[in-house]
């Protein structure tokens, strides 16, 4: 008899979805081994009017919350895509276990003339590059979540 790991079900975008990924990475020793990450990251899904703030602190994701658009932008940087583009990325991660070459945060950022990672501060925006491996690991961990889309 085979056993399948029970995946947490959550809908993207939602606090529950981000919390599900947060639980996964906070219990993953490999995430800690990447190294310290201190950054407040906004997430914007403008066409759905959904905005979130993720706080990365030391070796864990410390906080996840739904916020206003202004608060999402009051971060080191925010990640902004349409819901369709978010869905494409997360589905790619789910199908492959991690983002393929065309769906990493870096690739998406480079292909978008406005950039995926945006900020009001040239210094703070670079946190996207400084801790990119951590953020990619976070989103790749969503492969372990049974995601549905709103």
């Amino acid at each position: 008899m085979t056993q399948e790991a029970t995946k947490t079900k959550a809908t993207f975008p939602s606090v529950d979805w981000f919390n599900a990924v947060k639980e996964i990475v906070n219990n993953d020793e490999n995430y800690k081994r990447i190294g310290t990450c201190d950054s407040v990251v906004g997430v914007k899904v403008p066409d759905l009017g959904k905005f979130y703030s993720l706080t990365f602190e030391a070796f864990e994701v410390a906080d996840v919350r739904e916020v206003s658009e202004g608060d999402a932008e009051d971060s080191d940087f925010w990640l902004e895509m349409s819901s369709e583009r978010w869905k494409e990325m997360i589905q790619n991660i789910s199908e492959n276990g991690k983002a393929d070459l065309h769906h990493t945060l870096n690739t998406i950022d480079l292909e978008d003339p406005d950039g995926l990672a945006r900020s009001n501060d040239g210094y703070r925006r670079d946190a996207f590059y400084r801790f990119n491996q951590t953020f990619q690991y976070f989103f790749d961990a969503s492969a372990q979540v049974d995601t549905t889309f709103s």
């Binding site: 990447i34 190294g35 310290t36 030391a58 501060d121 590059y129 491996q133």
Partner: protein, 480 residues
């Protein structure tokens, strides 16, 4: 006679005595006189030590210790006269138990009286203290802040976390020219080490301590962490273009390392956070050289053509650290970030993707330091703002000239972006190149604004400024 009843004989000493037929009573009396057990063992083990000689020696020592007169032999007197050892010195050595033959040999070997005096005095002190050396210990009364007990935080025990009390006082000017750590107690007369940067504003960045910890924790190992086995043969012109890019990146890593290595010895130790971080930046530069050389030599290609080098020379010729860090770690790194982004965008395998994301991570730390340092410098030395603008004017001009001469790198980038050398591919490559070129220049301007030079976008070299997106243009693009 010494009280021999209380001296315990170690087992190995007793064994040697038994083998030489020396009564244990003699051994006990020697120990009771204060001779260390290992010294007694060594003497007993000498070839000419007989039971009679051992008894005679111990008896003589007991007589001397009881106040008996010490008489020097004629041989000893003659040797002492020649070596100019005072008679009293010799008697003290004999009183300590040094054999006459040994003392004579020392004199004939050229041991000076003052050398003997130091040794004999030390032995006398040891004997008087029951074996413990006489210590100074005045250093224990050092008047530095004591009782510090910093505990680890969720970040661990970091460099920043131990900046407490007086140890966290980072003065605007560091008056010491040595490696004395901040918070330690200075002693006068220590020779100067020749540092030239003592002014905090000339090197400080508030994020230096954090960047050091980040660099240590987030380091990666090209030899083992890059998935080299994911590389497969590429079309010839693509491999050549990638190798040319890697060659250029190797050179740029070397010059960055040279700049950091040149300026680190100038920085005084009052600002160890900055020195520690820049040491990791030097290590990052070495890693960059390493990984790009490895990429060039691991997939059927090789090294390419050297770059013209004009800008490298401009980097080395920078005259103060803020100019060097702004030019190398902020301006040049913004350009490098653009190259790394092209490398990532055109990556053909997981190995290349890993390499370019790792190097992007490393130089973004360097830019973070440079931005925070420039901001700190401009806040505290606003009169030098124009000087910084002039420095960037000059260095941007040299860079633009270098770029105009670096045909191999420019063409390699077109080929990578277009995916080949056909006319159609090169045309596509040109469009993408302009996109990335515009991107890195705008990112550079954005970083300068974050560092306190928002007006640099208007003052930038014309060949760079033409790519700056103007606010009205941004609004039109957004509306479209």
């Amino acid at each position: 006679m010494a009280d021999a009843t209380t001296a315990d004989i170690p087992a190995d000493l007793a064994k040697v005595a038994e083998e030489k037929g020396i009564p244990l009573d003699v051994v006990q009396r020697a120990l009771a006189l204060g001779f260390p057990a290992d010294l007694v063992k060594g003497q007993l083990g000498m070839p000419d030590t007989t039971p009679e000689a051992a008894e005679a020696f111990v008896a003589e020592q007991e007589r001397i210790r009881a106040g008996g007169e010490i008489t020097l032999s004629d041989e000893m007197t003659a040797a002492a006269a020649e070596a100019k050892w005072p008679e009293d010195l010799i008697k003290r050595a004999l009183r300590l138990g040094a054999p006459e033959a040994m003392i004579i040999n020392q004199m004939k070997a050229g041991i000076k009286p003052e050398q003997a005096e130091a040794f004999i005095a030390q032995q006398e002190a040891l004997r008087a203290g029951g074996g413990a050396p006489q210590l100074d210990l005045s250093w224990m009364k050092v008047p530095t802040e004591w009782g510090i007990r910093v505990r680890p935080t969720k970040h661990g025990l970091t460099i920043g976390a131990i900046n407490v009390g007086t140890y966290g006082d980072i003065p605007d000017y560091w008056p010491y020219q040595t490696e004395m750590p901040r918070g330690a107690y200075p002693i006068p007369g220590v020779p100067s080490m020749g540092y030239s940067i003592f002014d905090k504003a000339e090197l400080w960045a508030d994020n230096a301590a954090d960047l050091y910890e980040e660099a240590i924790q987030r380091r990666w190992r090209p030899a083992m962490d890059v998935p080299w086995d994911t590389m497969e043969p590429l079309p010839d012109e693509i491999e050549k273009a990638m190798c040319q890019l890697c060659t250029a990146l190797c050179e740029k890593a070397l010059v960055t390392g040279d700049i950091i290595g040149k300026w680190l010895p100038e920085m005084s130790y009052g600002y160890h956070e900055v020195k520690l971080y820049l040491s990791t930046a030097g290590f990052d530069a070495a890693r960059q050289f390493e990984v790009f050389r490895k990429r060039a030599l691991s997939n059927g290609g090789g090294m390419g053509v050297q770059s013209p080098g004009y800008f490298h020379r401009a980097l080395i010729d920078t005259r103060f650290w803020t100019e060097a860090s702004s030019t190398a770690l902020l301006f040049h790194n913004s350009f490098l970030m653009g190259l790394y982004q092209i490398g990532y965008y055109t990556a053909h395998n997981d190995a290349e993707r890993y390499i370019f994301s790792g190097t992007m991570q490393d130089i973004s730390r360097q830019m973070a330091y440079a931005m925070q340092h420039l901001r700190y410098f401009l806040l505290r030395k606003p009169d030098r703002r124009d000087e910084m603008q002039h420095a960037l004017n000059k260095n941007e001009a040299v860079f633009s000239y270098e770029w105009s001469k670096d045909t191999p790198l420019r063409e390699a980038l077109l080929i990578l972006l277009g995916g080949g050398t056909s006319a159609e591919q090169l045309a596509d490559g040109e469009v993408k190149f302009r996109y990335f070129w515009k991107r890195w220049i705008n990112d550079y301007a954005f970083r300068l604004a974050g560092a306190g030079l928002p007006d640099r976008r208007e003052k930038m070299h014309p060949q760079l400024r033409e790519f700056i997106t103007q606010p009205e243009e941004e609004k039109e693009q957004a509306a479209a």
